[in-house]
């Protein structure tokens, strides 16, 4: 099938994977960096080109779940099948868009064993892409781990002093979740019917959607999947790995983790949990939403207290993702649509926020909020960018997050008025902690650390400008993104007859 536009999905995996292999052998730091950057640009190009085929009216077949399928392990009913739908496209685009920017931020920093560093980064990209396009449960699991393992090495080899400890915690958390998910996958697998004469059961997405689990079985298998995704997102109370890892790791790895990898959890909830376990979701929805809302308020409270910029961003991210999880479990069109939009927007916003934090740390050498002050005088451009990004983060209208949060809260409101009211408290609290951070670091009198800060370099301004333009465009005209993902939402909702109470 090579040569038709179906292969785009495959290319998105193969380009980073093969270039990652090649990158190992490039010893020169500068060239490996450029090589990785070019590779990610190539991936982005493929993703952008594939956008032209996402016009559902003219190319409905492009958005079929399995548009590329190879024989992989026929005797157990697993095949190498990948495909895209609106949500898949959105997330692969986010991944393809984020990596060049992440690589661009590394141009000024040095990493030991840079060939290994960039190779691992590219492998993680391949894994993440795979997660978003896999339409076979075993393949999904395979990519899930492929994404996780490079990140584990990235975090444990390049970062702060306590990185080993933090990464170990992260690894135990996520690996425990993954293994539980594997058990769950196998359990669902034996309850599927075959799609080919070679095997009794099948791992394909369609077979999983049509598996014959009784409600009682669903009730407990659901948790096996849920834990894996909840750790990634993270949903309260499985969040404690995140602040530690974010604090200790290097910036590119953290950007990947918080910008894209957390979306794997959200994606998993929508792609794998909602359609496979509808009755379990219907049964536990109140509990799960309460958990998510507690997460929002809890993380917002703690974010105010943080003195470390990295931890601060980590907690604010937990708060935002709590809202996404809540909106997913409210299971209605508006809410899901909001989650779709917000997945892209949160990725962009948090990336921008990390870049600002990275610049601050590079320029001042510290990242304690209490030690920095008055940066706005020294670097007005950075201040403007930060203010825009901060306000995008607290979902000001005409910034991208507003659309997502508006729809998500709206969906939650349709589910239950009081839940929405409590979740809305989160948007007040987000203003409290964000503005406090902006005030403490950027306003006030310049102190000794801030004295050192000069103007932004052209490269840094360009990166931030790109992100800010995205923030504004998506805030003013979000309709294309909504339109793109509408078919996914409709599909999911159509597969959920049980949930309608």
């Amino acid at each position: 099938m090579l040569g038709t536009y179906f292969t785009f999905t495959e290319l998105l995996i193969w380009i980073p994977f093969l270039t990652g292999l090649a990158a190992i052998f490039i010893k020169n730091e500068k060239s490996v960096r450029s090589f990785a950057f070019l590779s990610s640009i190539a991936t982005l190009a493929v993703s952008v080109v594939s956008l032209f085929y996402t016009d559902f009216v003219h190319h409905p077949e492009f958005f079929a779940y399995s548009n590329v399928s190879y024989v992989w392990m026929p005797y157990i009913g697993s095949s190498f099948s990948v495909g895209m739908d609106g949500m898949g496209f959105l997330l692969t685009f986010l991944t393809a868009f984020s990596y060049p920017i992440i690589f661009a931020t590394t141009f000024k920093s040095n990493y030991k064993n840079s060939n290994a560093f960039f190779a691992l980064m590219l492998f993680s990209q391949a894994g993440i892409m795979g997660v978003f396009v896999a339409t076979d449960a075993l393949l999904f699991y395979f990519f899930w781990e492929l994404a996780l393992i490079p990140i584990y090495f990235l975090c444990s080899r390049w970062g702060g002093e306590k990185r080993i400890q933090a990464t170990f915690k992260f690894f135990v958390y996520t690996f425990l979740g993954s293994l539980l998910m594997l058990v769950g996958i196998l359990y669902v697998y034996v309850h599927t019917s075959s799609v080919s004469p070679d095997s009794v059961h099948s791992f394909s997405l369609h077979a999983f959607y049509n598996s014959y689990l009784t409600p009682n079985q669903q009730d407990w298998v659901f948790w096996l999947f849920f834990v894996a995704f909840a750790v990634k997102i993270p949903i309260f109370p499985l969040h404690t790995w995140q602040p530690d890892v974010y604090e200790q790791s290097n910036y590119p790895a953290v950007m990947v983790l918080s910008g894209i990898m957390v979306k794997m959890g959200v994606f998993g909830l929508i792609r794998w949990i909602l359609p496979i376990f509808p009755s379990a979701v219907g049964k536990f929805d109140h509990f799960l939403i309460v958990l998510s809302i507690i997460g929002i308020l809890y993380a917002s409270c703690i974010a105010l207290y943080q003195n470390d910029l990295k931890k601060f961003v980590a907690w604010s991210s937990i708060a935002h993702l709590g809202l996404m999880a809540a909106a997913i479990f409210a299971v209605n069109k508006t809410g899901l649509q909001g989650v779709m939009v917000e997945m892209l927007n949160h990725g962009i916003n948090i990336l921008a926020l990390w870049i600002v934090v990275d610049i601050i740390e590079k320029k001042t050498g510290v990242r304690k909020i209490s030690e920095i002050g008055g940066l706005a005088v020294k670097s007005p451009a950075l201040a403007i960018f930060l203010v825009i990004i901060a306000f995008a983060n607290i979902a000001l209208p005409l910034s991208n997050s507003f659309v997502g949060e508006f729809l998500m809260l709206n969906g939650l409101f349709q589910f239950d008025k009081w839940f929405a009211a409590f979740a809305c408290l989160g948007i007040v609290l987000s203003a409290v902690y964000m503005l406090s951070m902006v005030q403490k670091t950027f306003y006030g009198k310049t102190n000794a650390f801030a004295e050192k800060v000069g103007k932004l370099s052209m490269g840094q301004s360009a990166i931030l400008l790109v992100l800010v333009i995205f923030i504004l465009i998506l805030g003013i005209y979000p309709e294309p993104v909504i339109h793109l993902t509408q078919s996914t939402v409709t599909d999911i909702m159509a597969n959920l007859p049980v949930l309608k109470k």
């Binding site: 109370p237 706005a376 203010v387 507003f402 508006f406 729809l407 809260l409 709206n410 409101f413 306003y443």
Partner: protein, 642 residues
């Protein structure tokens, strides 16, 4: 070409101005920035005038102009659309007009800023005008919400304009967060509308033919009551009503023209606009109406009481703004929508004027704001003095200045509803007269009480500052004549007639309360006389003010001086518990609780393995023994489970 087709230019131009001034703040000269900044407001003002003329023509019907779909999901469709009717046209005129004057005024007022600061200031100010116009023009509640939060943002940026001082930043942050609380109410109301009616467009909800809400006739249905109450939470925070008013006095930390524009003339009246815009819903919910009226009257009185004892010239004006906004809400609450809008208009004139004049005073006093250190300025600053005087007459409600007519219209509508509220309202008006004339006398009369250096520096402000003052003074003086009560002239209430299509359905629901002309006349004369008496009394009392020896205040006066300790109470009730909760959650709950459990599992495994390791003694004999024991155990199990 129809002026209405040009409507998109009205918000677009200020936005472009914002971008030009913001991006070019380091390269453009101050003069150029000032000209661009003012021009992008002046052109929309001209368009607004044309629109106003078009709207006031006979046979005009509400027009909705649709640009693109903002959100379109399933049945929910939220377009980006503008709606033009009488209310919008009037607000457009007020917003662009007053904004233009204040932009011009700002050119002189901010001339000491660095060029980049000057550019930033005008960029923010233009952004504010853009947001405010979006708020007013929006054809549905979501667009209004965009403008609504946009003005919050600009208010935050402009209050903290001098960001090197953390006090300003704190004030900005407080304003934004308190507004955010109201925004939550607004947002929930929008959600409720979506889930109940499936739309947020004014056209679908309120159009006179088949609007979803217009066709409702059930009074006090839970949805409508809920929605209106939530909307009112939003309005109360934006328009600084009890209990969310404390941000407004603090907001005076910003530059004075900003206080005039945002915190007196335009932004704070957004709440009134919102309630007036959704008047049909309010009319269907008498419970909410009662709530609005009582919050309004209590705010009017409390803020007026606090204003009595303030010594900061801007703080007095801020509390006076809160109090006047209270009157507007009282008007809305008793169903006198057009009277409230009338008051918004006159208030924009005289309060904008008061702030600008105060700015002129502060400018002359080199930044001094304490009126106990002023005095006698009237001799040196003739124009400022006269214009301030006119504004005082207007706000105090002395006929025939504008404030008299608008306030009187609200109060007579209140009398028709409840004479008790009327009496309280008049009481508030007397307080207003008292503190305003106290302010006037202490600032402009008597002996100068500041330092010699300041006295030497006092001068009349340049023309760019005084011309806006004069224009506003004229408007404050004569602006009331567009709303003459029926008593004086048949069909004299031009503004009421102009707005009547917007409120037609509400009038139907509530019914029109008209007082007998005789009663109205008597009330008017009595209240006017009382106000004049109080004004003269205050004038004489503070004409020759001199700082007296320390006097001990009794409990009530002390409470007033300390603003009823509301800020302290909020601090104690919300801010401190929130901070300690945050610390508790971080240090105890998360670190010791959740992370403790997680680490506890890890430690448990560690400990267990250390204990189990002891079994590996290395003694071959013990291994064998264990093996045998194991075998025996299995054997026994096998034996007994059969």
């Amino acid at each position: 070409m129809d002026a209405i087709q040009l409507i998109y230019l009205v918000p677009l131009l200020p936005l472009i101005g914002c971008l030009i001034n913001g991006l070019g703040r380091n390269s453009l000269s101050k003069t150029l920035v000032g000209i661009i900044g003012s021009a992008v407001v002046f052109i929309p003002f001209c368009i607004s005038v044309l629109i106003f003329i078009a709207v006031s023509k006979e046979g005009f019907t509400t027009q909705t102009i649709h640009y693109f779909d903002f959100i379109n999901i399933d049945k929910l469709r939220i377009p980006f659309e503008f709606q033009i009717d009488q209310l919008t046209a009037l607000f457009l005129l007020i917003v662009t007009g007053v904004s233009f004057l204040i932009h011009v005024y700002s050119i002189s007022y901010m001339k000491d800023e660095t060029p980049s600061g000057f550019g930033r200031y005008f960029s923010f100010l233009n952004l504010f005008v853009f947001s405010m116009l979006l708020l007013v023009l929006g054809g549905n509640f979501v667009i209004m919400y965009m403008g609504w939060e946009g003005v919050s943002l600009c208010s935050y940026l402009l209050i903290g304009f001098w960001f090197k001082d953390h006090e300003n930043n704190d004030a900005g942050k407080k304003a934004f967060i308190m507004n955010r609380i109201g925004d939550v109410g607004f947002l929930l109301a929008i959600f409720w509308m979506i889930s109940s009616f499936g739309t947020v467009s004014y056209h679908d909800l309120f159009n006179p033919q088949n609007g979803l809400i217009t066709s409702l006739s059930t009074i006090n249905s839970p949805e409508i009551t809920g929605i209106t109450l939530l909307l009112f939470v939003g309005a109360a925070s934006k328009s600084a009503q009890i209990p969310l008013y404390t941000w407004l006095p603090d907001a005076m930390a910003g530059p004075t023209p900003v206080s005039a524009l945002i915190h007196a003339a335009t932004m704070v009246t957004a709440g009134v606009y919102m309630v007036a815009r959704s008047n049909i819903m309010y009319s269907l919910a008498p419970v909410t109406m009662a709530c609005v009226a009582s919050v309004g009257i209590v705010t009017a009185i409390v803020a007026a009481l606090i204003a009595l004892k303030q010594n900061d010239i801007k703080k007095v004006l801020a509390y006076s703004t809160v109090s006047q906004l209270g009157y507007m809400f009282l008007g809305l609450g008793v169903g006198a929508y057009s009277a409230a809008i009338f008051h918004v208009m006159t208030h924009a004139f005289f309060k904008g004027l008061l702030f600008l004049a105060a700015g002129s005073v502060i400018h002359a006093m080199s930044g001094e704001q304490d009126i106990t250190k002023m005095g006698g300025l009237g001799k040196k600053m003739k124009i400022t003095y006269v214009t301030f005087f006119i504004a005082c007459l207007a706000i105090a409600g002395i006929p025939p200045f504008s404030g008299f007519f608008s306030k009187d219209e609200i109060l007579s509508a209140t009398y028709a509803q409840s004479p008790l509220l009327y009496v309280i309202g008049v009481g508030g008006a007397l307080l207003t007269a008292f503190y305003m004339f106290r302010l006037l006398a202490m600032t402009f009369k008597g002996k100068f009480r500041g330092t010699a250096e300041q006295e030497h520096h006092i001068h009349e402000s340049p023309a760019t500052m005084t011309v806006p003052l004069i224009i506003l003074a004229v408007l404050s003086a004569v602006g009331g004549f567009v709303g003459l009560p029926e008593v004086f002239a048949k069909n004299g209430n031009k503004i009421g007639d102009f707005l009547s299509p917007v409120f037609a359905r509400s009038t139907q629901i509530i019914g029109e309360h008209t007082l007998p002309h005789q009663t109205e006349m008597i009330l008017m004369i009595v209240s006017a006389l009382l106000v004049i008496i109080v004004s003269v009394w205050a004038w004489n009392k503070f004409k020759n003010y001199s700082p007296s020896a320390v006097t001990t205040d009794n409990g009530f006066v002390k409470a007033i001086k300390n603003k009823f300790y509301i800020d302290e109470a909020y601090d104690l009730l919300f801010v401190k518990p929130y901070r300690s909760l945050s610390a508790f959650l971080n240090n105890v709950f998360d670190k010791k609780g959740i992370d403790g459990i997680v680490n506890g599992v890890g430690k448990g495994v560690n400990y267990g393995s250390r204990q189990l390791r002891l079994l590996q003694s290395g003694q071959v004999g013990s291994y064998l023994l264990l093996m045998v024991i194991g075998l025996l155990v299995l054997f026994i199990i096998q034996l007994f489970t059969k």
